[in-house]
Symmetry: C2
């Protein structure tokens, strides 16, 4: 059985959305292990039985959220970069898109990283899946002679690490409205390096 029993009607989809949004808030506030299905349905203002129309258990709902975040983040990035053709611009704008998503969805970091404490395979799978998409794009950029020919996987984790940690600082520790100066600095590193060339 799939993780989620996808609704066939508009109304069913709305209920599922309400359920997922409630689960985000409950997981964020109480943590996954301390949250019960009853907590989630109460928060959603729906009956306990309705939960089981969509999911078999709490973990299925959690995995569904995780998979949704992955798609949601990649979609936000795709949308933001769709007008650009130069990969330097694409990488810079992709970073801004990621920062905007994690700023505007405060549950994302908490819920994704909690997978390490729920089921390590989920955590590893989340990032390996994200990396796979990135590697594909990096390999094309390398073939087209734009990116240096480094190990595409290492490059993917470098880029993901930068986005995640810059995101921690400027969206979780402090919340920024604007990421332009940060993206400019990161783009300089991508384009020219961190160090001045040796004389």
């Amino acid at each position: 059985m799939p993780l989620v029993n996808m609704p066939k009607t508009q109304r069913g989809q709305e209920t599922l959305d309400i359920l997922c949004a409630a689960a985000e808030r409950v997981f964020y506030k109480k943590g996954y292990h301390n949250s019960t299905i009853k907590d989630i349905t109460s928060e959603a203002n729906i009956g306990l039985g309705t939960f089981y129309i969509y999911f078999n258990d709490k973990k299925s709902l959690y995995v569904h959220l995780l998979s949704d975040y992955s798609k949601f983040i990649r979609k936000a990035i795709s949308k933001k970069i769709s007008h650009f053709t130069d990969r330097r611009d694409i990488e810079r704008e992709g970073l801004v898109a990621f920062l905007e998503v994690v700023r505007d969805n405060q549950y994302i970091y908490n819920i994704i990283w909690e997978s390490l404490y729920i089921d390590k395979k989920l955590f590893v799978g989340y990032y390996e899946d994200f990396a796979r998409h990135y590697i594909n794009y990096i390999e094309i950029a390398q073939e087209e002679g734009e990116m240096r020919k480094l190990n595409p996987e290492t490059v993917a984790y470098v880029l993901m690490g930068i986005a995640n940690f810059v995101g921690l600082r400027y969206t979780m520790f402090d919340k920024r409205d604007n990421f332009d100066d940060i993206a400019d600095d990161v783009a300089t590193i991508y384009n020219e390096g961190l160090f001045f060339p040796l004389k």
Copy 2:
């Protein structure tokens, strides 16, 4: 009262070390919230009362571990880079030192990141403290004309992000013996950038 009541004798220090090593294993295996002081003292093979010679509660022990990791990681990096003078070498070797530490101490990632679910202030404090040391070093490298003059804080989180995510991939998802080729690729990004220069 300080977090830990530091032992004054060699034997006291040994007991504290055994207690901390047991706590690491218990937190790693059961998670912080599901671990009791009794679990930790049983794992350490010491009496429950002995715990309270050193710590007031479970959280004090956890915070002590977190603070120890921070010092331990920075010390391992300092030791590894002490023979180098060129900052390009220092940054590369510092990355290798970090990767070796997290490879050889499998509890580190889990226990540090779990702070986000124990007390967010601890998580923020851990990285802000680590960043503070890094920023100090980056500012000197910028003044001496080796590093480009970018926002030192952004640079610190870029470097921490790279180390952490490359570390996830090559020490947690898979365990590498040798990090030379990875460090070479990351060093190329630091020294020359990710993209080829525009023609």
